[in-house]
Amino acid sequence: MQLFVSQVLNGIGYGVVYGSVALALVLIFRVTGVLNFAQGEMALFSTYVSWKLTTTGMPVALAIALSMVIAFIGGALIERVFIRPVEGRSPLNVVIVTLGMFLAINSLTQLVFGTDPQQMPSPFPSGSIELFSSGGESIEVSKSTIGLIVVLLVECAALWFLLQRTRLGLRLRAVASNPDSARLVGINSGAMLMLGWGLAAALGALAGSLVASKQTAFDASLMQIILVYAFAAAALGGFESLIGAVVAGLIVGVAYTLTIQYIDALDGIELVMPLGLILAVLLVKPNGLFGRRTVERV
């Protein structure tokens, strides 16, 4: 029992990581309708920026905040320069451009920051909190996991507020749902798209930095496998829903650790678990757990 609970907690630790990356994916999808394969690598670059800033002696939280600002500007620029020319073209073209960025940003990161593994300091206090103990056995959860959960919830709430309760959010959603009509009612859709990419990049910077700080060391391959699980979480959550991404991230994380612990047959191929999970959910609910049914007019 104790093993089970600690594995679940461990899974939640992974889950918040997947959830936070999935959140950025969902944001960019909701605001621009694009599936960004370069999301992970953009986050990787920002993570290196935060790390570089911390090496100058800057407090970790400030460094992350600063790198989020840089990422915001970078994301907006990427939209303007690289994505705008293929906007409204075949979705395949957009996919190729983001895949090209995936390759290019990854190697640029290695070029700028070197290929050696680095250590990202954590913004959260170290150590762990004892949840309860019985008969000499205790169950602990690390403070950094709690910190990540709190950050994730705050992110979620802030995004929900932005998208659902402000005029700016309304404009963002209008551009996503119908760019032409949005333009007709006087919304600057270009600016909204840049804003969407900037926001997603900033979220990615936050997620990347926190993920890196959870690990003992990180290098340029930091985000690649995480991205697969984050995509799984985003698909499971329904791609539209912010809270869906977070919940699905947790589900995927817990499923991952429990699979490792209890299903020996899947030893080494744990990825079957989230994939099977997505398939099962999508077969029953094609729009994901939290997605809305899209009604198409024929």
Binding site: V86, P91, G100, F102, L103, A104, A235, L282
Partner: protein, 381 residues
């Protein structure tokens, strides 16, 4: 490979009739609107014939002219083209995006490698087995694909590509327990005495590719092919007209996977290994296939070939361009940038661009626009 091009020059104004027997009703009159395959301007036909003959000659003479090293690279382009053609059937003609074809490629590669290393099969005999196995896996994946669409499908297939090396890691134990199988060099030796090993490799790949392209070319122009395109463009209308949506989609998936499997099988001969050590290798392969389709020109016959050749040359030259340590790091950057540049400059792929150019030369604008390569289906809001 030259077959399609030469034949391409003389399509009748009418698409060939549907399979006999199925259509008991009297032949329906041609629907209104532009014909599916309009007659070509004489200039275009002449250009195509000349181009086709020249290309055929060049392709057949190439391995004699080039060094073994270059023949290997050309053979890589050929198997890449085969896989890209398979993906083109699925993505270009049927509209289902897959980022998981690397997994089917892996199935083909490991099938061949395992049969050769553990069971002492000859290489040539393993190719059909690889095709059937990859096709079966494709069939299994195709069924969920009926429910999962567009981007979701892309994601599920992405997971498949990442899964492939993990499965190999678990079940394949080559030299030193690593998931790396290397059949002996002698097993790929030439079966014809007057050809060197590398030339034999090239011609074998070429013959198989030509056969597969011929099949694909016929498939696309048949009743089945029209059903595939109809599914892509207007699913509802297609089903109203009696197109079996589920059957068409799953069938396309299986055929497409079989192409990738054959490509994987050929890759064992060309690269002399089936590799499961790199966790993102088959993901990268999937990307390569997709990129070859798009930069070559989706939903065209020549697109995958052009895309594959460009890709192989691009990869090789970006590696050669830079010397020393930075090369390893920087070449993906150049490669990625080149991909993006091609998408910006030639949104319809190279073949689409050439078509426009030819049409302009022949001053037959309507001919070029009659069959746009990959018209994105308009998304209803």
């Amino acid at each position: 490979m030259a077959g399609p091009s030469v034949n391409d020059a003389t399509p009748g104004p009418e698409p060939e009739d549907a399979a006999p027997g199925e259509d008991a009703a009297p032949a329906a009159p041609r629907p209104l609107g532009p014909p599916l395959y309009p007659p070509l301007a004489p200039t275009v036909i002449t250009l195509r014939v000349i181009f086709g003959v020249l290309l055929a000659a060049a392709v057949l003479y190439a391995p004699i002219y080039f060094t073994p090293q270059n023949n290997r690279i050309l053979s890589q382009a050929i198997y890449l083209a085969v896989a890209a053609m398979g993906l083109n059937l699925l993505t270009g003609f049927n509209g289902q995006i897959s980022i998981g074809h690397g997994a089917f490629f892996a199935v083909g590669a490991f099938t061949t490698a395992i049969l050769m290393v553990d069971h002492n099969w000859t290489f040539e005999a393993t190719i059909p087995i690889a095709a059937v196995l990859a096709g079966t896996v494709g069939l299994l994946v195709g069924f969920p694909a009926l429910r999962v669409r567009g981007l979701y499908l892309a994601l599920v297939t992405l997971g498949l590509a990442v899964l492939a090396p993990q499965v190999a890691n678990k079940y394949v134990h080559g030299t030193g327990g690593r998931p790396l199988l290397q059949p002996r060099r002698s097993e790929f030796s030439s079966l014809l005495t007057f050809l060197d090993d590398d030339q034999w490799m090239y011609y074998l790949c070429l013959a198989i590719a030509a056969l597969l392209f011929f099949v694909a070319w016929n498939l696309v122009r048949s009743r089945v092919g029209r059903a595939m395109v109809a599914c892509r463009d207007e699913e509802l209308a297609a089903s109203t007209l009696g197109v079996n949506l589920a059957g068409t989609k799953v069938g396309t998936f299986a055929i497409s996977a079989a192409y990738a499997g054959i490509a994987g099988s050929l890759s064992v001969m060309v690269d002399r290994l089936a590799d499961g050590t790199n966790p993102v290798l088959y993901f990268q392969r999937s990307i390569e296939f997709l990129v070859a389709v798009v930069i070559g020109g989706a939903a065209t016959m020549f697109g995958p070939i052009v895309g594959a050749v460009l890709l192989v040359l691009l990869r090789r030259n970006t590696q050669d361009l830079l010397e020393g340590q930075k090369a390893q790091v920087l070449s993906p950057a150049l490669y990625g940038a080149a991909l993006m540049a091609i998408v910006y400059v030639l949104p319809e792929g190279v073949v689409g661009g050439v078509r426009r150019l030819v049409a302009r030369v022949a001053r037959q604008q309507p001919v070029a626009t009659a069959q746009p390569p990959s018209s994105p289906t308009p998304e209803p809001a």
